[in-house]
Every structure is written in structure tokens, then in C-alpha cells.
């Protein structure tokens, strides 16, 4: 603390200050919830806390998490992306189709470039036509799904290309570890830094927090949103390619409903649906929470449908807690 600074009130070490500290850190809720769930399943599901299950959980978490990072990044800038599951499937498909003919690295590059273009199209439609992104991206999701069924005739496609990308993205290493785990962690670190440590991150917060103010202060709000639309789509595309490479097959219903899972993970992780606030660490915890519930419920012997019910309940509880906690601080 700066001692010459007399005009600033020194922090008082009492409960209310501690509470306000916690309030300034909404992702703490996600961490606590995650730990609670994690301990619960570790105690009641005998094989939950085993290396094989944990790495298996991490695989699912990474695939959902990479997509969620992009969605959160855009959500913080104040826009939704409901097209991610469609982009995920389309990009995966494109990768399989191209990879069966070309070098897989080239196929991945083209597939991700197409994903970025879909994102830019989402952004352009939203910003130019002033249609809310909720609608443009919902439309895009349905359009992509429909086109995919048309293109494949509902058939499953099998990947028969080379193994380079598969090795880079999702090939089984040992004990259930996969490269996607490293990709996820690296992307969490990268985007967390981009958001909190750079000038661009500041613009993202301001754009979502109050776009009129951001614009008045010289931030190119449209460009920030457009870039984030592209990021969201590319992350969804990457996630799709990772999953396709794990399974080796795909069909048109691949990833259905994942857009809502990503939004749930964002909200559980403390991201504001209205934009302007969120952390990538929170997203990490949100995605982990979802993944743990999914595998934990299976391990405990609950029917698979419980997952949806559980996530639904978590989502509402998390949102309610965040709103309560935020009051008076933001």
C-alpha cells in the first residue's frame, strides 16, 4: 500500500470487505459448485475419482470447453452465438470430406477458415441488418443443420484420411490423456490473458458493458463484435474437428443441443448474459462442472436423462446466485 496516499481509505479487514471481495469474483461460485459436485461424486460414485474416469471427463470437458470459450468471449462483448453447434458439425463434416481427399492439415485449415467465415457472416448480418444475434445465429444454426442433412442425405460419414491432425488434436496418448486436454488448457490461458491483460480485452468488456460509451470513447465496437463472432465460430469449428477426430465418424445430428450447453456453462461460470462481464477461468469451471455431472451421474447409476434435469436446475440456481451476489456491487 502506498503510505503517502492519505485520501484513499485503507481497507478494513472485516466481514463486509471480505464479502465484497468475493462479490468481485463471481466465478468463485462456479469453483465452489464444481468442488461440491466433484466431492459428492467422488464419495458416492466408487469409480468416479479414478484416473481413467477423470481423464475421460476431461476429454468431454475440453471439447465442450473450447467451444464455450468462444461463446463466452462473444457473450462478454454483448452478443449470442446459437450457431456454434451447427458450425461444430459443419466444420467437422467439412474436415472429413476434405481430409478423405487432401492432406489432413490442409483440410483442417480450410475447415477452420470456413468456420471463421460463417462467424463473420453471423456478425455482418447482426451488425448490418440490426437483427438481434439471438435470431441471426439461431437461423444460421438451423440453416447449417438443414444443409448438412441435404448434403449427406442423413448418412454417416467415415474419416479415412491421414492421421496427422488426429494425432495433433485428439489421439489417445495414455491413461485417457489426449492432446485436446492441452489445447483446452492452452486456449484457456491464451483467452484469459487476451481478455484481462490486453487492450483488446478492455474493448471487449466495454463493448458488452455499454456499447454507446465504448463508441464515444473511440472503441470500434462493430469491429470488436465482428472479430468475436469469428472467434466464436472458429472455436466451435476446432471443437468439431477434435470430436470428429476422436470418433472417426459423423452424422448430421452431430452435436445437437450443444449451443445451449455452452450457454449454460457460461452462465454457471459467472458470465453475464447481458454482456460486459465474464472470465475464462469461470468458463473453465462451468465446463468442468457440466462434464463432472455428466460422467458422475452415469457412474452413480442414474439414467442418462438426469443429466439434462440436473444441468437445468444448476443453471437456474447459478443464475439466481449470481444476480443476488452482484446486487450492490455492479
Amino acid at each position: 500500500m502506498n503510505e503517502t496516499d492519505t485520501s484513499l481509505v485503507e481497507p478494513k479487514h472485516n466481514l463486509s470487505v471480505m464479502l465484497s471481495r468475493i462479490r468481485n469474483w463471481p466465478e468463485l461460485g462456479a469453483i465452489l459448485a464444481f468442488l461440491t459436485i466433484f466431492i459428492f461424486f467422488s464419495l458416492f460414485a466408487p469409480r468416479f475419482f479414478g484416473l481413467r474416469n477423470l481423464t475421460g471427463t476431461f476429454t468431454v470437458v475440453s471439447e465442450l470447453g473450447i467451444m464455450t470459450i468462444g461463446v463466452a468471449f462473444l457473450m462478454i462483448a454483448g452478443e449470442f452465438d446459437l450457431s456454434v453447434s451447427g458450425v461444430y458439425a459443419t466444420t467437422g463434416f467439412l474436415f472429413v470430406t476434405l481430409g478423405n481427399r487432401l492432406n489432413s492439415v490442409l483440410a483442417l485449415a480450410i475447415a477452420l477458415a470456413v468456420a471463421a467465415c460463417i462467424g463473420l457472416l453471423n456478425g455482418t448480418l447482426t451488425l448490418r441488418a440490426r437483427v438481434p444475434s439471438f435470431i441471426t445465429t439461431l437461423g444460421m444454426m438451423m440453416f447449417l443443420r438443414g444443409m448438412m442433412i441435404v448434403a449427406t442425405g442423413g448418412q454417416t460419414v467415415v474419416y479415412e484420411g491421414d492421421e496427422i491432425v488426429a494425432t495433433l488434436l485428439s489421439k489417445y496418448i495414455a491413461h485417457g490423456f489426449r492432446p485436446s486436454h492441452i489445447w483446452f488448457i492452452a486456449l484457456v490461458v491464451f483467452f484469459s490473458y487476451l481478455l484481462t491483460g490486453t487492450r483488446y480485452g478492455n474493448w471487449v468488456f466495454a463493448t458488452g458493458g455499454n456499447k454507446e460509451v465504448a463508441r464515444a470513447m473511440g472503441v470500434n465496437v462493430e469491429r470488436v463484435k465482428l472479430i468475436n463472432f469469428a472467434i466464436s465460430s472458429m472455436m466451435a469449428g476446432l471443437s468439431g474437428c477434435i470430436v470428429i477426430n476422436r470418433f472417426g465418424v459423423a452424422n448430421a445430428s452431430f452435436g445437437t443441443g450443444m449451443e445451449l450447453e455452452t450457454i449454460a456453462a457460461c452462465v454457471i461460470g459467472g458470465t453475464f448474459l447481458t454482456g460486459g462481464y465474464g472470465t475464462i477461468i469461470g468458463v473453465f469451471c462451468g465446463a468442468f462442472l457440466m462434464g463432472s455431472i455428466r460422467t458422475g451421474l452415469v457412474m452413480i447409476g442414474a439414467p442418462a436423462y438426469w443429466y439434462q434435469a440436473f444441468v437445468g436446475a444448476m443453471l437456474v440456481i447459478a443464475a439466481a446466485i449470481h444476480i443476488k451476489v452482484r446486487k450492490g456491487v455492479m
Partner: protein, 252 residues
């Protein structure tokens, strides 16, 4: 230091929105270190004029001179580069961001490190803390959210920020709306202080008593036309109110 020519001169500015002639050949000027009260009832064209001056809107017709040099602003950034800083009633701070991040929004301090601008948070916090203390606001840290600040504190920080970044002309658009009496007084002190440190001010308000206290000169608009200009010594606050309310100069 004192120059004879005005700091900013807007000449014959016109702006039309569809069927509405928002401004019809309006000319105003602001002297060096002068506080100009820009008055007029709702719909007079004050805000449009200010938006043109701050680069938010382009004029349909007319010229802007800054220190007698013809300028054209295509964005708020251009205007700000010249030292024209605008403080709007609600458009200056993002309430769910912290004070320091708001303070440097769009002008973040960065360390030189490649293409990505890496924020120099330490320096930003230090500078922000210093300015906030100078203004006389008590906060625990520059990392507190703006939402905990009162309206007056927000305006004070906006004005302090403008001065920190070397504002030559401070444009205040209804800065007292929704402020308490005590806070209004404080903000007025900040405005006088800004003028005393060499900046010029355009002050837009509905409350003529506020502006009368601090302004040196008044320009009155009505329905897009400039109807009157007064030096403070030539009018009383009551005269101004009459002129604004009637939309014409009263002969006395």
C-alpha cells in the same frame, strides 16, 4: 498565452434529419479559456450541434475551425486527437467496469510488446489513483467498479479524465442531470477549475441558474436557429430564462 482568435469556431452549420431541419446555418464560437453556456429548449438543436463538434455526426453544411485552422472530424477519435473531450450525461463510463479500466478506455497504457497491446495495469492504476485523489473522491481502490460511485463522482471522474488527457475544449452535455445539490456544486467547481487551468468549456444545460453562475458567455438556440448571444455582464439569469422560454429575444 492569450490569443485573440477563438479556440473553436463553427460557421454556418446545417444538419437535416429527414424532414426535420435540426440546425439551420448556426455559427458559434468559444474563446480561449472561456466557458460558453449553450442554451435552448428541448429540440433546439444543442445536442446535434455538439455531436457534430465531437465528431459523432457529420454536418450537411458548414465549417469547423480549431484555432482558426479548418478541421473535419469523421469520428470522436479525430475530435479527441485535437483535444475536444465530451462528457455526456450518461455516456462516459461503463458501470460494470472498474474505474481504472474506464479511465483509460480507448487510450489504454500499454507496454511495448509486439502487436498485442499488453496493458500496463500498474501504471494505469497508479495514474488513475492519483487523478481520483486530486479530484477528491474517496475510493478504496481504482479497481472498484464504477457502479459504486455516485452520479457526481462519475461526472467528476469524467471531467478529470478529460483534463488528464489534455483537453483544450471540454464539452459538457447536461452534466448535472440527476445530481444532488451538493454534488452539483462540486461539479461546478470542477468546471471552473478546468477553465482556470486553461481549457475552454461548452456547457449545455436546462438549469439556467447553474450555467449563469459559471459561464462567461451564452448562446441561445431555438428550433435549429441561433436566436441570441449574450455576454454575462449584459444579461440577468431571468432574461436568459425568458429568452429560452419564448424562443425569441425580448426587447427591454
Amino acid at each position: 498565452m492569450h490569443q485573440d482568435f477563438p479556440l473553436v469556431r463553427m460557421a454556418n452549420i446545417s444538419k437535416r434529419f429527414g424532414a426535420v431541419q435540426a440546425l439551420d446555418s448556426v455559427s458559434i464560437e468559444v474563446g480561449q479559456s472561456e466557458i460558453l453556456g449553450l442554451l435552448g429548449d428541448n429540440g433546439a438543436g444543442k445536442s446535434t450541434l455538439i455531436k457534430i463538434l465531437s465528431g459523432v455526426l457529420p454536418p450537411d453544411d458548414g465549417e469547423i475551425y480549431f484555432n482558426e485552422e479548418s478541421v473535419r472530424f469523421s469520428s470522436p477519435k479525430d475530435a479527441r486527437a485535437r483535444g475536444i473531450e465530451t462528457v455526456h450525461q450518461e455516456l462516459s463510463l461503463v458501470s460494470i467496469m472498474n474505474i481504472s479500466r474506464n479511465f483509460f478506455l480507448g487510450r489504454e497504457l500499454t507496454k511495448k510488446r509486439g502487436l498485442v497491446g499488453v496493458l500496463d495495469k500498474k501504471k494505469m492504476d497508479k495514474e488513475c489513483r492519483r487523478v481520483v485523489a486530486e479530484i477528491g473522491i474517496t475510493v478504496r481502490s481504482p479497481n472498484e467498479y464504477v457502479s459504486i460511485l455516485s452520479g457526481g463522482e462519475r461526472q467528476a471522474i469524467s471531467i478529470g479524465r478529460a483534463m488528464y488527457f489534455g483537453a483544450k475544449l471540454l464539452v459538457l452535455d447536461e452534466p448535472m442531470t440527476a445530481l444532488s445539490v451538493m454534488e452539483t456544486r462540486k461539479v461546478m467547481e470542477h468546471i471552473s477549475k478546468a477553465r482556470d487551468s486553461g481549457a475552454s468549456v461548452i456547457f449545455i444545460t436546462h438549469n439556467l441558474y447553474h450555467v449563469y453562475e459559471v459561464a462567461d458567455r451564452f448562446t441561445i438556440l431555438n428550433k435549429g436557429i441561433k436566436i441570441a448571444e449574450f455576454n454575462k455582464k449584459d444579461v440577468t439569469a431571468e432574461d436568459l430564462i425568458e429568452t429560452v422560454a419564448r424562443g425569441e429575444v425580448i426587447k427591454s
